[in-house]
């Protein structure tokens, strides 16, 4: 491929280009450009006729570069690339020049200058085309095994779903039994179902499924590799188990904050909601006649600005359970905002009000005060200070990230947010994916979630995780960086820059060098533009290819 033979196809797009630019003049200009051996104008290059003309042009003129000057690559580049491919030309030897959306349509009143600009754009396009290199898309195989970390409701649901799809799953749980937070709960809202029964039912299903291996009392010790090809080490008892995984799902849940030095918490007269559930389960509450619940404890403040979402409903649930065991009991719920969103939960709130629970709104500027057997609170709606003698105070404390979530984050090289919860790739577009391909997220490890949400997310993560496993391989991005190891000094700035963990330092005989993980790379070029040694070449967007397009207008001869 020594001689570059470029063909330039200029589209009229009906009158959209032809009506505003002098296309014959552009054709004449293009034909005089170095390396251009063939030019043609088409009425509609993207029509069947136009595409046939490209294929013919390539064959008859032995073209090894194709330039199309028409609309925008954002809609039509894939089409023209595959046309080139059909004609036997590597699709990355194709160059697009935008002379419609960014020329004829926006300079409708100045035909001469618009045509001059189009010439310059075509010249820039041809200059780049000459420097393009053929690129291949490769594929990396994906192991059809999933690792699910965490055996709570989210982890169990995800594991079961993937197993039902036909994939092998290893479920790793650090405690000695499955169930997670469910093991601390008594009854669930809004159905009143018993948590232990749910755990039992799910565990049975899991144990029966031949595709799932459950490793309790186990923790993930090391994870190496990339999407489709993870090497995982799990500490199981006193031995290390090594296995391969294609995808990893984080379902490690969260915990409830244990209050320290707040509201006279003592675990006996002043308890948390979880401790209350324990007491309810053991039937230890029949003698409590007055219970005061305080919402938003050490939460929605400067230290911890977020709302934990599940505590209002938990309080309602437990308040109604207290009334169920002791119908004469008086229950007060001291709240700032009642967060009972949607259809079922708003109804639940309505139901709670009907059982005679008293709701008292307090403001964060005037926190309730808990003394022995008495709670003082300023009722914002009545405008009065109230004193509530009570037998039990229940604190709704926030959901917080597990203390060891940062350790897991480091192992997997995934980020956590400022509150310690794992950070997803994109809040809206990829809520259960990590930015690193092949790792997914569900349940309270992501953000406080109730059971329904955890289940939805678990299915969502399973869906996403199943994609690379279903296809069996991942296509690697051809627009990847190429490292000149002689120049690479191992400074690791590229590793720091890349949010996809697609370029990492590895030991070689010559010291630490950057290596590209093609399966994870997105081709953005942030690493290349910052490399202190200029050791990185970005394929298809090389410095030379960019520089070739920097043509002053004075050099665009008529």
């Amino acid at each position: 491929m020594n001689e570059v033979r470029a063909g330039v196809f200029i589209c009229h797009c009906g009158t959209n280009i032809g009506g505003f630019l002098d296309v014959p003049e552009l054709i004449e200009y293009a034909s005089r450009l170095p390396s251009v051996v063939f030019t043609m104008d088409n009425k509609y290059t993207c029509s069947e006729v136009g595409l046939a003309e490209i294929r013919d042009g390539i064959a008859k003129n032995k073209l090894n570069r194709v330039v199309v000057a028409s609309c925008t690559p954002r809609t039509h580049e894939p089409l023209f690339r595959s046309t080139c491919k059909d004609a036997g030309l590597n699709p990355y030897l194709f160059q697009f020049v935008n002379i419609r959306d960014q020329c004829s349509w926006v300079h409708m009143k100045d035909r001469e200058r618009a045509t001059e600009k189009a010439k310059a754009l075509i010249r820039m396009g041809v200059a780049r085309a000459v420097l393009l290199e053929p690129l291949e898309e490769t594929e990396v195989e994906v192991n059809p095994y999933a690792l699910v970390i965490g055996g709570g409701i989210a982890g169990m649901t995800c594991a079961l779903s993937l197993a039902n799809r036909g994939f092998e799953v290893k479920l790793v749980e650090k405690e000695d039994q499955l169930g997670g937070t469910l093991n601390n709960l008594y009854r669930l809202y809004p159905t009143d179902e018993e948590a232990s029964k749910l755990v039992q039912a799910k565990s049975e299903e899991l144990k029966k499924n031949a595709k799932i291996e459950i490793l309790t009392s186990s923790k993930v010790k090391e994870v190496k590799g990339f999407v489709g090809n993870y090497d995982v080490t799990v500490r199981h008892g006193d031995e290390d188990r090594l296995f391969k995984a294609g995808v990893i799902i984080v379902a490690t849940g969260a915990e409830t904050l244990k209050p320290v030095d707040i509201y006279s918490y003592d675990g006996e007269h002043v308890v948390t909601q979880i401790e209350l559930e324990g007491k309810l389960r053991q039937g230890k509450l029949t003698d409590k006649d007055t219970v005061v619940m305080i919402q938003c404890v050490d939460s929605r403040n400067e230290k911890r600005p977020y709302c934990s979402k599940v505590c209002c409903l938990t309080a309602l649930k437990n308040a109604m359970l207290i009334k169920e065991t002791n119908p004469d009991a008086q229950v007060f719920v001291l709240y700032r905002d009642m967060v009972t969103q949607g259809t079922k939960y708003e109804d639940y709130y309505g139901k709670a009000r009907e059982t005679g629970i008293t709701f008292i709104k307090y403001s964060p500027e005037r926190q309730p005060v808990v003394e022995k057997g008495l709670v003082k609170v300023f009722d914002e709606l009545l405008g009065e200070e109230l004193a509530l003698p009570c037998d039990l105070v229940v604190l709704s404390t926030p959901i917080v990230a597990h203390k060891d979530s940062e350790d897991l984050a480091k192992l997997l090289k995934v980020p956590v947010d400022e509150n310690g919860f794992f950070l997803e790739a994109h809040v809206k577009l990829r809520p259960v994916d990590f930015a690193t391909d092949g790792i997914y997220l569900c349940g309270s490890a992501h953000w406080p979630a109730n059971i329904g949400e955890s289940v939805s997310q678990a299915y969502g993560a399973a869906s996403r995780a199943s994609i690379p496993m279903s296809v069996g391989h991942v296509k690697t991005e051809p627009l990847i960086p190429v490292i000149d190891e002689d120049r690479c000094s191992g400074c690791s700035l590229c590793e720091l820059t890349c949010p996809f963990k697609a370029i990492q330092l590895e030991e070689t005989e010559e010291g630490r060098k950057a290596k590209v993980i093609a399966a994870s790379c997105k081709g953005c070029g942030a690493c290349g533009a910052g490399c202190p040694q200029k050791a990185i070449t970005m394929q298809h967007f090389t410095d030379e290819q960019l520089l070739a397009q920097i043509v002053p207008l004075t050099e665009v001869k008529p």
Binding site: C307, S466, V471
Partner: protein, 430 residues
């Protein structure tokens, strides 16, 4: 790839339906994505920006629209409706009615020459009747498929047999008045319902003066006004006199948490009102907003911080109090009458514009769809699910996600959509 499973059907081309279709398509499963309107995109295409990141809605939606369109496993059926479903899980037979577009999708390049000549002007649905469009029109500028549509109810040729100017001026011969509605039968293994919501019509609360007072609008109308590609180019102008609106009143729970209308909470309005106030402030730092709420619900990731920022940096005052009524003064400025619950006093506030956060309701034709699908609706007409199996409808093999299940935000709709895709794939494996 070997076809191991049957195709799946996704009803609804909003963000939820699109995500479900993409996930299934990526898994290697063939998907039929059915959309009633001329183009996919749904409600998300009508929003300006989305909370809690305030990123541009159409910008994050467009790549997904393009992916759907180009996906080798997804067949897009726009201007189509499901008319019948028989069979059972793993083996459904679906009757689809495909309505004629009267434009050849293969030939049309969206150049707009036809619309430029069309003499008809009717209120545009996508822009909530805030501007007029022609009878041959793009459903919205960034819509997919990127082709024009002819409105059969208002086209002069289709109603009265005259005109046909569009056909004369189309250089691609893309106009085809001979197209007919067709019926298609599809065999699918699983169905996902993602038909979204309709906003509550606040004419049902006459005390709020909607339609009576020109400067009382709904939140969706506000989104179109503040959107850069909307009818006013993103300038927040009062409908009555086109003057810029600088004092905004946001009335929450309009039609929600209301014993007469909808008892439930629409979940997203506290957040979208905050967002809307922020957007107005970004356009004009002299804007002051007042949000009248009952309970401030900001429970999602980053939501509480978003609301706090609104209060501290975007000139938003949150006033706890239900709005009793809205009247107007001689300048047509809405006067909001409310009970300030913490002082128990009745107050009023005169604003330039009042924005009603209308309840998210099931689509007006959902009962008919429920019957066609053979699934139960709950007492609010949302598709009935059970809390521990939140994505399954009452009919095995039919799953549900997004706002047709329960009012919810975009991140949850997307998560549920992936979840429903998984349930569908799982179902078809058995």
């Amino acid at each position: 790839m070997e076809r191991k499973t049957k195709a799946a059907l996704v009803i609804g081309g909003g963000i939820a339906g699109i995500q479900a279709a993409l996930d299934l398509g990526d898994m290697g499963i063939e998907v039929h994505l059915i959309e009633k309107k001329p183009s996919i995109g749904g409600r998300m295409a009508q929003l300006d920006k989305t909370f809690p990141t305030n990123d541009c809605s159409i910008c994050i939606l467009s790549p997904k629209l393009a992916d759907c369109f180009r996906h080798p496993n997804i067949t897009l059926h726009t201007l189509s409706e499901v008319k019948g479903v028989t069979g059972q899980r793993g083996d459904f037979t679906v009757k689809l009615r495909k309505y004629a577009r009267f434009v050849d999708e293969e030939k049309c390049v969206n150049c707009g020459d036809c619309a430029a000549k069309c003499p008809v002007k009717v209120p545009d649905e996508f822009d909530l009747k805030l501007r007029k469009r022609e009878a041959v029109y793009p459903y919205y500028l960034q819509g997919v498929p990127a082709v024009m549509t002819i409105d059969r109810e208002n086209c002069l040729y289709l109603t009265r047999g005259v005109c046909k100017i569009c056909e004369k001026f189309c250089t691609r011969e893309a106009i085809n008045f001979e197209q007919k509605d067709t019926d298609v039968t599809l065999d699918v293994g699983a169905i996902i319902v993602a038909t979204g919501f309709d906003p509550y019509d606040p004419s049902g609360i006459p005390e709020y003066g909607y339609k009576r007072y020109r400067n009382v609008i709904t939140s969706l109308e506000y989104e179109r006004l503040i959107c850069a590609s909307g009818p006013t180019g993103g300038h927040l102008l009062r409908p009555s006199d086109d003057k810029p609106a600088a004092k905004l009143a946001f009335v929450q729970c309009v039609g929600s948490r209301d014993l007469k209308n909808n008892r439930y909470c629409s979940t997203v309005c506290c957040m979208h009102a905050t967002k809307e106030a922020m957007l107005a402030y970004e356009h004009n730092p002299r804007v002051k907003s007042y949000i009248f709420y009952m309970d401030l619900r900001a429970a999602g990731k980053g939501f509480q911080e978003y609301v706090s920022r609104g209060e501290q940096e975007y000139s938003i005052s949150y006033i706890r109090g239900r709005v009793a009524k809205i009247t107007e003064d001689h300048n047509e400025s809405p006067i909001v009458w409310y009970e300030e619950t913490q002082s128990s006093k009745t107050e009023k506030l005169t604003a330039d514009l009042a924005v009603l956060a209308t309840s998210l309701m099931p689509r007006r034709d959902v009962e008919e769809l429920g019957k066609v699908l053979g699934v139960e609706l709950d007492e609010y007409n949302f598709f009935k699910t059970d809390p521990l199996n939140p994505l399954d409808t009452t009919r095995p093999g039919i799953f549900v996600c997004g706002c047709c299940r329960e009012p919810t935000d975009i991140p949850k709709s997307v998560t549920q959509a992936s979840g429903a895709a998984e349930r569908a794939a799982e179902t078809m494996m058995r």
